[in-house]
């Protein structure tokens, strides 16, 4: 009596086991298959960075069809990307300067090999008859991403310019995409964030630019040291293509905005991206990272107590590797 039930269940069970075996093999196939071409895993974020266009136009794939197999891995922000690189899951990443420094402080190992974009950060102030300048921010609500960020330092600089201190404003923490929405709702009077969210508020007519740090380099290409050591040529080649794309974006902003609009698909329309490209972001002429610039930068973050790096020179020399970018022909 009970036997029949057991047999039936065994059959079903073995069928299920077989099915899962097949599915899981198919699932992990890509991890098992052997590769002949060099696999380059590039981490990207949905932010206005040059490599998003390199990706959407398939430039690397076309040019190095027989040499490289490119794998693009998306991250929502720099943090997981840095962790993935530390775990060896990606070889290239473009990330903001503060997450990169903080990652190295935590002991993550990667090399900065090229300059990406500049002027990503700024502070916008709500368009309001009562708020005419930075000094009018006294007692007002300001949104910021968190105390350990470069944006926080920008906020301190901006307040200083307006003769205020951090105690004069009401701070609210938010994530970058939330800031322009809070601005539109009039829940905040100013926010210090990044492009394209600054341009979104400006184009929507909710705010105007309040403060932008002078000469700011924001984004950097980093590479996994093990990968760079065994494939230096690949690093140079990839950097070269990113650099070409940067130059193309500068010369063809309209088309670049079109390409980006395809990627974003959200509330960030083409005109916002175009505004950001024309008025905000800087696409680097010189891709080679310099020690001096970094030493100056870390001195300033140390002064704002965002970082606690004692031996700046050693830190920078271990971190910055300009040799690959130097080989990129202008």
């Amino acid at each position: 009596m009970v036997k029949k039930g057991i047999i039936k269940r065994c059959i079903i069970l073995s069928g299920v086991v077989l099915m899962f075996f097949v599915i899981s093999i198919g699932f992990f196939h890509e991890q098992l298959a052997a590769k002949e071409k060099l696999v380059i895993k590039i981490g990207v974020q949905p932010v206005i960075l040059p490599e998003l266009i390199t990706q959407s136009k398939g430039i690397l794939e076309k040019k190095y069809k027989n040499k490289y197999e490119i794998s693009w891995i998306e991250f929502t922000h720099a943090g997981p990307g840095i962790e993935a690189m530390a775990a060896g899951e990606i070889d290239f990443l473009d990330a903001g300067v503060m997450p990169l420094i903080q990652g190295r402080e935590k002991g993550r190992d990667y090399w900065a090999v090229g300059n990406s974009i500049g002027n990503v950060t700024g502070m916008v102030i709500r368009k309001d008859p009562g708020i005419k300048g930075l000094k009018d921010l006294k007692g007002k609500k300001v949104s910021y991403p968190g105390a350990g960020s470069w944006q926080y330092a920008i906020l301190l600089m901006a307040l200083e310019k307006g003769g205020l201190t951090i105690k004069d404003v009401e701070l609210h923490r938010a994530r970058f995409p939330e800031m322009p929405i809070l601005m539109k709702k009039k829940s905040v009077d100013a926010f210090v964030g990044v492009e394209p969210f600054l341009s979104l508020s400006i184009v929507e007519g909710d705010a105007e630019m309040g403060f932008r740090p002078a000469d700011e380099l924001s984004g950097f290409f980093v590479v996994r040291p093990a990968f760079a050591k065994s494939n230096p040529e690949a690093v140079t080649n990839v950097l070269a293509e990113f650099h070409e794309t940067s130059k193309w974006i500068k010369s063809h902003p309209e088309e670049a905005a079109e390409e980006y609009a395809k990627v974003f698909k959200g509330a960030i329309k083409k005109e916002v991206i175009l505004y950001a490209i024309k008025n905000g972001l800087t696409f680097m002429d010189d891709i080679v990272p310099t020690y001096d610039h970094w030493i100056k930068f870390i001195n300033s973050t140390n002064s704002y107590e965002l970082t606690k790096i004692a031996d700046i020179e050693t830190f920078v020399k271990d971190f910055i590797h300009p040799e690959f970018a130097k080989k990129v022909r202008k």
Partner: protein, 260 residues
Amino acid sequence: MKNSVSHFKNHRRKLFFLIDIIILLILWTIVSFSSEVAYNYILPPINVVFGDFVKLIADGVLVQHITSSVLRTLLGFFLAVITAVPVGLLLGWSERFYSIFEPIIEILRPISPIAWIPLSILWFGIGENSKIFIIWLLAFFFIIMNAIHGVKNINPNLIDAARTLGASKKFLFFKVIMPAAFPNILIGMRLGMGVSIGAVVIAEMIAAKSGIGFMMERARTVIDPSPVIIGLVLIGLLGILTNLCFVKIENFMMKHRVSK
């Protein structure tokens, strides 16, 4: 007489289901049009979301994400079943083993699997394995506790009867204990599955390369509200679907037993 009453009740339930969906859609529209912010950034109207839904399917993107999430859940679940059932049956049967493992179980059990996610990502990376681990963890505890409960609740007379009739230990285990504990195990599986879908989405939101949670989180980053809403609806629907599947399986097994 009885049939027509349950028939009526069935129809009534389906009718209310439809009415509730309509109410939900009406509320959706009201909230959507309540402000410019809601319309553009939080909850776009139904036609906009539906349009984006169709686009995502056409691109093949949505299907990929759903498949990722579902496969991870199923795999983790499967691993949990083959590990938790034997262990649970053993712990339920043997007082000795139970008392050895009880402190470990009691300490680990109250910790929500969600809290394990950062650790899992640290250990397994952002790939499939970290999600499968979380699902395994979640389902393991659900199934094992119900398996133990199932064994402990077996009518002792049944076991005595089998013993008196000269049953061997093996027979006892496979033909008496396992079938008796089976319904409880199924309930544990159903409950575990119900929570698993939410758990895998959360893990994907934190760190993943694909999946429903990843899709929702990425959409948030570019202020694209539609995929977020689509994701929420998908989670709800998958929950209902898996629950129905398990209820069908349970009913099938019940009929099976009753006929014996």
